[in-house]
């Protein structure tokens, strides 16, 4: 367990070893995050570098009132999204009418799914669903924040999340059929 406050204090004084400690501690956690949002290992590396450049540049702004982990993750998400925007990535509007209610999912369907499996399932979602789902479910941001991040309306974020969930269950059903499982979804 490292003393984050002490490391931050030393980083602010320009101590290189502390900076390296900070990178070594948070880098492994942030790299998968960057990969999830950029969906590209090279772009993820760029986003991760940009994240730490911004972390050291704005470390003085971190007042300690919040959780450092949340602060740094937020920077990583922003950098990942900005990295995407620098490319040719555009969110495609998906038209999908209909009602949707949260289904019941049997634990046996997903309990055996590891990180790679879950990521594969999520990546089958349309990009906008994928982003909204990740930001809402994994990162825990609200729809207002997501709307601001992705430059979409708050209601759009909400409806996209609903569709993402519906689509996710459909993918799970499909997976179940592929696996020949008799698991109920």
């Amino acid at each position: 367990m490292i003393d984050i406050e002490n490391i931050i204090e030393r980083c602010l004084k320009g101590d290189r070893r502390s900076q390296e400690k900070l990178v070594a501690h948070f880098g492994p956690k942030l790299l998968p995050l960057c990969k999830r949002y950029t969906r590209d290992s090279h772009l993820a590396q760029d986003a991760l570098q940009e994240t730490f450049i911004n972390v050291f540049r704005y470390l003085g702004n971190f007042k300690g009132s919040g959780v450092f982990d949340a602060w740094i993750r937020r920077i990583a998400v922003n950098c990942s999204l900005n990295t995407l925007k620098k490319g040719t990535f555009h969110y495609q509007s998906v038209s999908d009418d209909g009602e949707y209610m949260l289904p019941s999912v049997d634990a046996a369907v997903y309990q055996h799914l590891d990180y790679e499996d879950l990521l594969k399932i999520l990546e089958e979602l349309p990009p906008i669903y994928y982003m909204v789902f990740n930001l809402y479910v994994v990162e825990g941001y609200g729809h207002k924040e997501i709307g601001t991040m992705l430059e979409i309306g708050e209601s759009t974020s909400r409806s996209n999340l609903s569709r993402a969930r519906k689509k996710l269950v459909e993918i799970l059903k499909k997976k179940r059929l592929e696996l020949g499982s008799n698991l109920a979804v």
């Binding site: 998968p32 601001t148 909400r158």
Partner: protein, 471 residues
């Protein structure tokens, strides 16, 4: 099983994932970023250092030159002393002959300079001896600066040859005094007209003789009436000037990474700085022989920012309503199914909106000047103290909203101290008037943004023209 548990599983699995990273590669990128940030500061410091070295070097060199100049002046004085001594060692008759020859040599030239009335008066004066007339003419010219009436002097000097001869009884001291007075008169004339070159050695000899002779004639008995010329060879010079110019403000816009606002991202990408306008009134105070002087005044600058907004987006609203109605075959049962109804609206927005940043400053600078005849080059280094920054126009704030700057309180009303360097070329078009062109660079470390969500800083460089008056 509850669907929420499925999402919790996803969150837990994805959130806790860790992968190895290359720390040295990331630190390399961080170092490179920090170095590039310092580059601007290093350039500025190097410029200041170079300028300081140059100025100090020049001042040291100039001090040596002044020493040499002082030595030269003492040599000249010694030489004139020797000339005067040698004159005293000659017989009175020889000195008279020499003087007569000198005066004859100048006679025709001086005679041409007299006005027709004087010439006529001189020619009509039959009682004068030729040699005496020459002395009269020299006296007229040598005291030209002091008196305007040649005829008045004529009557004063045509008393008799005895008066003239009494000049030869001058002591060495009085002769040297006259020589010094002449030098000062010479300086005064050079400053005033710059039209007569006294540096020719033969002319200097003539002038010495001239003053020795005519000074006695004109000033004997009334030294208290002589107006002593200024001995200050390094007077203060003041200049007032007006500069007008254009500049190219280079904006450095960055978003606080903790802020998530697409409008800021859009501003960073699409907001462009247009040309700036500069106006300055300044006053300089300098010593004539010093190459470095101070300058201050009041300056005004106006920068324009243009936001080009081009947005195409679809907004989806969700409302609850009847999405299906089923009527039974008998017609007595109607089933309504309620659900989300999605309404998609396409927007295509194209706007160009400006805002302006106006600054009023008090610049204070040191100027190094090097003159080349009527031309001069100046290098200027100084600080500018902002006394007021005010903005106008509207700033892009959120998705489709431009907020007036006075409402949004986007920018600071004071932007602190900025630092600048200028390079001038100027030409003196008369003794008092000058015009010039300049190039300038401003480094503004101050934060213009009044908000924590974004940072807005500037560099500025530009060109200007100016004119002024010196006195």
């Amino acid at each position: 099983m509850d669907y929420n548990k499925f999402e919790d599983h996803i969150k837990k699995t994805l959130h806790n994932r860790e992968e190895a990273v290359d720390v040295s590669k990331i630190m390399g990128a961080v170092d490179a970023s920090q170095k590039s940030g310092r580059k601007g500061l290093v350039i500025l410091l190097a410029t200041i250092l170079l300028f300081s070295s140059f100025t100090v070097g020049y001042l040291v060199y100039d001090t040596d030159s002044e020493g040499l100049a002082a030595a030269s002046e003492s040599d000249v004085e010694q030489a004139s002393h020797n000339i005067l001594n040698s004159k005293d060692s000659r017989s009175e008759e020889e000195r008279l002959q020499d003087r007569s020859m000198i005066l004859q040599a100048r006679d025709s030239e001086i005679h041409d300079q007299l006005n027709p009335a004087t010439k006529q008066e001189l020619s009509s004066s039959s009682s004068l001896q030729p040699s005496t007339s020459k002395v009269v003419d020299v006296a007229s010219i040598s005291t030209k600066v002091k008196y305007s009436s040649v005829t008045a002097r004529k009557s004063q000097v045509t008393k008799s040859d005895n008066k003239f001869l009494r000049n030869d009884s001058f002591t060495e001291t009085s002769a040297r005094n006259s020589f010094e007075s002449f030098n000062n008169v010479t300086f005064a004339k050079q400053e005033e007209a710059k039209s007569f070159n006294y540096k020719n050695e033969s002319l200097e000899k003539i002038a010495i003789e001239k003053l020795v002779n005519t000074g006695e004639i004109l000033f004997t008995g009334t030294p208290q009436n002589v107006e002593c010329p200024s001995f200050n060879q390094n007077p203060w010079i003041f200049e007032i000037g007006t500069i007008m110019g254009v500049s190219d403000p280079v904006k450095r816009f960055s978003i606080n990474p903790t802020e998530i606002n697409p409008a800021l991202t859009s501003r960073a990408e699409n907001e462009k700085s247009l040309e700036g306008l500069d106006l300055e009134f300044n006053l300089s105070a300098k010593r004539m022989r010093w190459p470095v002087f101070i300058k201050s005044g009041v300056s005004y600058s106006r920068w324009t920012e243009r936001m080009s907004l081009e947005r195409e987006y679809t907004e989806i609203d969700t409302v609850q309503g009847i999405i299906s109605a089923t009527v039974s075959q008998t017609g007595d049962t109607v089933t309504y199914i309620y659900g989300d109804i999605f309404i998609e609206t396409d927007y295509d927005i194209k706007k160009k909106v400006h805002y302006y940043i106006n600054r009023v400053n008090i610049p204070l600078s040191l100027v190094y000047e090097r003159e080349f005849g009527d031309n001069a080059f100046q290098a200027e280094l100084g600080a500018s103290f902002n006394i007021r920054t005010f903005s106008a126009g509207s700033v892009y704030e959120s998705e489709n909203t431009f907020t007036p700057v006075n409402i949004g309180n986007f920018f600071s009303s004071l932007t602190g101290v900025s630092y600048f360097t200028k390079a001038h070329y100027r030409r003196y078009i008369s003794d008092h008037m000058f015009v010039g062109v300049l190039a300038h660079f401003h480094y503004l470390p101050a934060e213009f943004s009044n908000r924590s969500s974004f940072s807005q800083k500037y560099l500025n460089y530009g060109l200007g023209i100016y004119g002024g008056y010196r006195f």
